[in-house]
Each structure stands twice: as structure tokens, then as C-alpha cells.
């Protein structure tokens, strides 16, 4: 068997293992879903009237439309925290040492985690999206092509964040540390255009909020689903995703190839 098909086969085996874990122990993933869904309901039904007045009028449904793209990306951030935790847990397991002494494709352990995490992220996004639709989110003006592009962006964003999350999991000695280390991935959306426009923030924070990875991705998703102006945000979002994915890949692989502790 050549190297590539060996890599693909072993990675598929590792993916099956990770999906089996997720299916058997869904509580971690479901807990992490709780945050974005709760925030969605909180912002729409509790703060909704005030917030929609703040972003320039309109009723509560206008604010639902505003907030959903950000929350979908936040869902990804929240799901990959689970990835950090499960990678850290996994690395503490003796079975990883066994994998390292077997004649398998070395990277397959990590690739299995990454693909599993992207699959879980997409499933979570679909669930949160369903809740959003149930409370009145509509993106009926988007063309089929725009839907595909939006889906592609979500997958790309999930891949980028996952590679970073895997790296964070690998440097964490245990699950608690992994959860703490990955916390910025949940908090970053709060400092983006997810809940309020960047222009409504204090001047000194605006450059950070404007150019951090979440804002361009949110603005692009908004543009694709709701027809707002995308501008430079499309390229910025793709550049951030590719950059984070490559950096996370190099970091995680180097980390995993080191002698274990």
C-alpha cells in the first residue's frame, strides 16, 4: 500500500474511533452547544428590543438576522473547545503510546481528531441554525451559490479553528488546562461584530474588533446569507482561515512528533 492510501486508511480508522467516542459520550458536545443556543435566546428574547433599536431600528426579527451569522461562528468556536479537551484527554491515554509504536501513518491520530471535530462543528452549526430558523431567522434571498459559499466558509472556519484547538489540546497537560487554554475561542466572538457593530464600540478597541478572525468571517457570512456588503471581508476571512489552519497544522504536527512526556 502506498503512503497516501495508508495515510487515508489510518486516518479514516482514527476518525471512526473519534466519532464513536462522540456518539457514545455526547454530553460534552451537547454542553458546548448550550452556550450559543442560550446566548441566541437571551439576546433575541431578553435584550432583543433594545439591541435592535441600537443597531438602527427595526423590530426583533431584524436583530435575529443580525445576530445569527455571528452565533453560527461562535458555535464553531464553542465546539472546538471540546476538541481541545478531548485531545488533551486522549493524549493522557495509554492507547496513544500504543499508536506511536505501531506501523501506522503517524499523523493519522491528529487527522482523525481534526476531521471528527469539523464534522461535529458542522453538525452543531446545523443544530443552532435550526433553532435560529425556529425563532424566525430567514435567509430566503440567498441564492443556491451563496448557500454553498456560506457552507464552505463555515467548514473552512471550522477547519482553521480546529487545528488551533488541537495544538492547544496537545500543549495542555489535562482536560481542565485544555478548557482554559481554549477559552479565548469562545470569548473572541464577544469582541467581534457578532452582537453589535464594530462602529458602536469604543474607538481604541475598534481596530482589534475589526481585524480579528471572527469579524471578517461574520461579515462575509452576513453578506452571503442576508445580502449585506462583504467588501474586503471575504478575502480577509479566507486569509485568516488558511493562515490559522496552516499555522495550527505545523504547530500541532511538530508537537505530536516530539517524544511524549
Amino acid at each position: 500500500m502506498n503512503t497516501l492510501s495508508l495515510a487515508a486508511r489510518d486516518s479514516a480508522t482514527m476518525l471512526r474511533r473519534n466519532l464513536l467516542h462522540a456518539r457514545r459520550y455526547p454530553s460534552l458536545t451537547l454542553n458546548l452547544l448550550f452556550t450559543p443556543i442560550m446566548l441566541l435566546l437571551l439576546f433575541v428574547f431578553i435584550f432583543g428590543d433594545t439591541m435592535s433599536a441600537g443597531i438602527g431600528g427595526g423590530d426583533r426579527s431584524a436583530y435575529i438576522a443580525y445576530i445569527v451569522p455571528g452565533l453560527l461562528l461562535m458555535t464553531i468556536g464553542s465546539t472546538v473547545v471540546g476538541t481541545s479537551v478531548s485531545v488533551a484527554n486522549d493524549m493522557a491515554e495509554g492507547i496513544i503510546a500504543r499508536f506511536r509504536t505501531m506501523a501506522i501513518h503517524r499523523g493519522s491520530v491528529i487527522v482523525g481528531h481534526v476531521v471528527g471535530s469539523v464534522v461535529q462543528s458542522v453538525a452543531s452549526v446545523v443544530l443552532v441554525g435550526a433553532v435560529a430558523v425556529a425563532i424566525g431567522f430567514r435567509a430566503t434571498d440567498a441564492t443556491l451559490l451563496e448557500w454553498f459559499a456560506a457552507f464552505g466558509l463555515l467548514v473552512l472556519f471550522a477547519t482553521a479553528l480546529t487545528w488551533i484547538a488541537v495544538g492547544l489540546g496537545l500543549i495542555s497537560p489535562n482536560a481542565e488546562a485544555a478548557s482554559n487554554n481554549a477559552m479565548p475561542l469562545i470569548l473572541m466572538p464577544l469582541l467581534s461584530s457578532a452582537f453589535v457593530p464594530v462602529e458602536a464600540m469604543p474607538g481604541w478597541i475598534q481596530p482589534i474588533a475589526q481585524y480579528q478572525p471572527f469579524t471578517p468571517a461574520i461579515e462575509t457570512l452576513r453578506g452571503l446569507l442576508l445580502g449585506s456588503e462583504i467588501g474586503d471581508n471575504g478575502w480577509l476571512a479566507v486569509a485568516w482561515c488558511v493562515g490559522l489552519a496552516v499555522a495550527g497544522y505545523i504547530w500541532s504536527t511538530a508537537r505530536f512528533n516530539r517524544d511524549p512526556r
Binding site: R17, L20, I95, R98, T101, P260
Partner: protein, 325 residues
């Protein structure tokens, strides 16, 4: 002569400026059981980790060949030939025993049908059929260890590393494990076994190396090692210090163990010898509270080689069950 299963030259490894292994040479012939014996921290696990490609050897190590392949240039070929059961269980606790076995079959690229057959056979052989559908995290220590070895055997390895396979097991599980290891050897597999139990090495190993302080203190068959140190003794223990002193005076040649109020009298353990000791005690009107005959065993070798003489060592009193057998 055939190629040895394992040939390691000047194995070195240090963490920071602490040398864990300081130039260890090992040769293991194919189809034999080789036991690496040593106290905690002697470097047994580090040796297994290096030979099984888990960690890299120190840069100043010599050539290391496992199953005829160079560890440095062809680690994948080494991995294809070996199986490893580490000290801490290498099973996936979140999935069932059967799923663990099928995972191994997939990673060895067995066709699905054959993978199922191999998994079922091994579960049967290691008495895990009843527990096969339960998560491995619910298994007892002995069951986990059996599953661990069953997983190691999926790829039909020619060389198996077992790092303290019986540590923490109850006596029954330990004897089961010994049977398993004997079965492996009968199939022609080479076994590299580390243990801190001398009896285990004595029972199983063709050759034994005593590792101490990062170096091989002695190597040979169990018989050869036992011949390295002087013979046995009779151990007399007292509760009354006066009786102890009286006996010590009557038995001039005894080695004294003041703390334990015990005397070790060099002896071959024969009837004549015992008679003479008892006669001398009787003549001095002292009575020992306990008398044990101690023939030389690996314990003596172990304690002699890993620091100090036999009776004076405090660890002797910490491990009474090991010493009296």
C-alpha cells in the same frame, strides 16, 4: 547463528543532566524470554520505550537493531515487527473491548472478515468474551491487562515488549499472565519482559539482566546469577533483646540485624547444619521466636547487586513477603 531479535549497543538516555541509561548493551536471541530486572527508577521503562520506538535514544547511543532493522533509520519496519504492552494500560477506555480489538485489526489493515475472526479468537483466548461488549474502562486490572495483550497480539508480532505486565495484579491474575507469556514463547515469539518481581524473572526468563543506576549490574541465566553471590543462611528472629544478644554470642559467625533483632547464620540449609545451630542455641539456653531457612534466590542477587548486603538493607524489612519464600 541467526540475527538476534534485539541488539542494542551503548544505549544512552538522559533527561536534563540526569543520565537514566548510561551505556546499556543488550542482546536478545530470537524465540527466548529476556527479563530486565531492576528496582523502581532503574531505567527499565525507558529501555522499553526506546527499543519500541516510543522515544528516541540519546544522541551518543550506539547502533540499535530490533528484528534486524535499524531503529534510527527504519523505525516503521521495527514497529511492524513488534508489539508493546506498556506499564500503563494502552486500551481505549471509552469504547468496548471488542471495539478495541477491531480498532487494532483496522490499524493492521486486516480485511474486515479476517479482522473480525482474529478479534473474536483473541477475545476467546483471553477469556474476555463475556465482557466484550462492555466499555474497557469498566474492566478490572487483570481484564484490562489481558485486553491490552490481546490487542498487542492482533498484528501477530514476532517480538513482544511487556513492561511490568503483572504489577498491580492479584496472584491469580499474575499466574494467568505467566501462562499467557509461556504460551507466547511456545509460539516462537521473542519476549522482552521487565519486572520488579524476582520470582517472575526466575519463572519465565531464559536470560536475566539486572539493571541498576542506568547500567547492567549482571547478566546471565537465573542459575548463573544465583551463583554470583554466596550461599544461603538460616535466619533467627527474636523478640527479647537479651535472648538476641545471648544467641549472637553463642553463634559467632552470624550476621547481625540489630533493628529486627535477627541473626543470619551462614548455612547450606541441611539437617546437620540446622542441628548444630539448634544445639548451640540450646546450650546457651536461648530460644528463637522464628526460624527460617533461606536458600539463595534471585532476591539475594538483586539486593547484593542493587546496593549493599542482604540483611542490613532496610528494604529487606519492608518486603518481608518477598524475602521469605
Amino acid at each position: 547463528m541467526t540475527t538476534p531479535a534485539i541488539a542494542a549497543n551503548r544505549l544512552r538516555k538522559s533527561y536534563g543532566d540526569k543520565a537514566v541509561l548510561d551505556g546499556v548493551d543488550l542482546t536478545v536471541a530470537e524465540g527466548t524470554v529476556f527479563s530486565l530486572l531492576g528496582p523502581n527508577g532503574a531505567g527499565k521503562t525507558t529501555t522499553v520505550k526506546i527499543l519500541s520506538t516510543l522515544i528516541s535514544p540519546g544522541p551518543d547511543s550506539g547502533e540499535i537493531r530490533v528484528a534486524g532493522h535499524d531503529l534510527a533509520t527504519d523505525p516503521q519496519a521495527v514497529r511492524a515487527a513488534i508489539g508493546v504492552t506498556g506499564q500503563f494500560s494502552a486500551v481505549d477506555g471509552l469504547i468496548t473491548g471488542e471495539e478495541n480489538m477491531l480498532l487494532m485489526a483496522d490499524l493492521h489493515h486486516l480485511p474486515r472478515r479476517e479482522g473480525r475472526r482474529v478479534a473474536a479468537d483473541l477475545l476467546e483466548r483471553f477469556d474476555l468474551v463475556a465482557a466484550a461488549k462492555k466499555p474497557a474502562s469498566t474492566y478490572s486490572g487483570g481484564m484490562k491487562r489481558r485486553l491490552d495483550i490481546a490487542m498487542t497480539l492482533v498484528g501477530d508480532p514476532r517480538i513482544i515488549f511487556l513492561d511490568e505486565p503483572t504489577t498491580g495484579l492479584d496472584p491469580r491474575s499474575r499466574h494467568n499472565m505467566w501462562q499467557i507469556i509461556r504460551g507466547l514463547v511456545a509460539d516462537g515469539v521473542t519476549v522482552f519482559l521487565t519486572t520488579q518481581y524476582l520470582e517472575e524473572a526466575d519463572q519465565l526468563a531464559d536470560r536475566i539482566a539486572v539493571l541498576n543506576d542506568g547500567g547492567i549490574a549482571a547478566e546471565g541465566t537465573a542459575e548463573e546469577l544465583k551463583r554470583l553471590i554466596p550461599g544461603g543462611h538460616v535466619r533467627l528472629r527474636f523478640t527479647d533483646p537479651a535472648a538476641y544478644r545471648g544467641a549472637a554470642a553463642a553463634l559467632g559467625a552470624a550476621v547481625r540485624d540489630e533493628e529486627a533483632l535477627a541473626l543470619n547464620v551462614p548455612s547450606d540449609g541441611g539437617q546437620r547444619d540446622l542441628h548444630s545451630i539448634l544445639d548451640r542455641l540450646h546450650a546457651a539456653s536461648v530460644e528463637a521466636d522464628e526460624l527460617t531457612v533461606h536458600t539463595p534466590d534471585l532476591d539475594d542477587v538483586f539486593f547484593a547487586l542493587t546496593g549493599g548486603g542482604v540483611p542490613q538493607q532496610p528494604q529487606q524489612s519492608e518486603q518481608p513477603t518477598e524475602a521469605v519464600r
